[in-house]
Amino acid sequence: MSTNHDTKDIQQHIKVYMIVFATLAALTVATVAASYLDLSRGEAIFLALTIASVKGSLVASYFMHLISEKALITWILMLTAVFFFILMFIPMTSFIDQSRLG
């Protein structure tokens, strides 16, 4: 159970949480600000999704402790990610087909 060492650890964690929190808030403001910039469609999408991905990884890595999670869980999530991207993008090929049809 909670040893002295644990307590130290947790206090260390709490510091990290605060830093992550600040970063997330800053990135939120940044992404909103960026949306008012005069960017092309593609650039805007790229920027917004990049920021969202960074935010998402921060939440997953630190709040959800994925960064120090057991290998088994990482594997399951990687498998899920593969299927997620397949689901996301392969149906899109239907549009390539439709553009062929004109």
Binding site: L72, L79, T80, F83, I86, L87, I90, P91, T93, S94, I96, D97, Q98, R100, L101
Partner: protein, 572 residues
Amino acid sequence: MSSYTHHDEPFYRKYIWSTDHKIIGLQYGFTALFFLLVGFTLMMIMRWQLAYPESPVPLVGSIFGEDGILLPEIYNSLGAMHGTIMIFLGIVPLAVGAFGNYIVPLQIGAPDMAFPKLNAASYWSYLVGGIVMMSSFFTAEGAARSGWTSYPPLAVIEVGQTLWLIGMIFLITSSLLGSINFITTIVQLRAPGLSWMRLPFFVWAQLVTAFLLLLAFPPLESAAVLQLMDRVAGTSFFLPSGLVVSGEILDVSGGGSPLLWQHLFWFLAHPEVYVLILPAMGIVSEVIANNTRKPLWGYKSLVFAVVFLGFMSFIVWAHHMFITGMGTAMSDFFQTTTMIISIPSIIILSAFFISLWGASIRFNTPMLFALAFLPMFGIGGLTGLPLGLAAADIYLHDTYYVIGHFHYVVAPGTIFGLFAGIYYWYPKITGRKMSETMGKLHFWPSLIFMNGVFMPMFIQGLAGVSRRLWDGGLEYAHASGVLHWNEFMSISAWLLGLAQIPFIFNIFYSLKFGEKVGKNPWDSTTLEWTAPSPPLPHVNFEKIPEVHREAYEYSVPGRKRDFTPQTVPKKG
């Protein structure tokens, strides 16, 4: 079944609101068998209309209106519900819910599933889904009538679909809860010493199945939500602009796509077909190993093949959509993956065949069903190959060839596998064996009539007869040469129904009068046979077993007995 009453629980706690995986397994089993019978009954009614178009259905005709004729819209309802019931309410709950629940914890030496309450919730969610589905028959609109595939826009504009969607959401939730439970149980609760490569193949099959359910079902859940929105909130997820239905412009915003549904649906529904087959393969492997008195041949390659099969099953789905206007890139991709996925199936089947060589085969009822599974699945699987080649599928798509293909895999395939399992594990559940005589009386007619129903479908399919035709093709010239088969198939189907009577009778008869047997009547090696029959409520084993060896140590040279249970310690 009730002789062991270790905990003094009231009746309803023990049999109704139970959290014991064995009771839940039985609840699943009986509910699913009931639904199988319902689904089959629907089909026996439909087969009347197919054999004798527009003549009053005997016995039950009065339900369908005064003259007793099955109207086209009712035919479509029964067809859609036959498919839905068989797959989602019959086979999956029986193969996963019942067999998985009852056998997996026993085979891995666990006292229960990892989350017993979740397990009960999963069953009840299934039951609610089933009741919602069934109740749709009794509403004014009637049941869903757009096929089990529920393609929009038809499914959005047809009546009866709403309850189908709501039912599906319950069924999907049930499967998700179940699959989380299975994976956690198999990963976490394996008995000491039971390493991955010592697992019985059945457990591997269930593990892969659980992953398929876990990751493939949610997209269909989201698709069901979207279709529900289309129906009740007037959205246009699946409706393009400018539709004219019955002369009226459809009053929706438009902008959606019917193909989106097909992608989301088949993203589930292809993995789903392996959900139907893998548990049956698992059962067959157990029965074969036991009754050949030999280890399964090539256990490692079996495990590898089934994992690979599971993975690949996520990337073949669009082979159901070849004819929807697909270009070369996509069709080439999906044809290739479809051909690739046939290889692990061949590996698995080959390993089963080769296991027979050098065996000492006992032809008891479970073994007969397991053996029949092999060529029947073979026919079904092999006829999948021309369907997987897009060029051949141009002609064969949506014909009875497809119906024949998949019924061979699910009916004389999966159902036979499940029958084998019921006969095989019955003694574990009840402490008594099922009657062999009645078992054989069940097996032989079933085998013959199954082929009687489904073999002519290939002939009709080759002739180009479409599926889902109310009159079985009477309208069409190209069907005229093969139309006479309809009567033959229907009679086979009804006889197939009769052939189930010895089975149903046997289940109840053997409960009281079956031959009493000990813990391990089949001289088997796996863990479930070291538990008492029936296993102790809630805890299964008198003491958590320890595993010392691989799953199938049969006929090891130099040993006294021809089987060595996994719990026997290695000497020295």
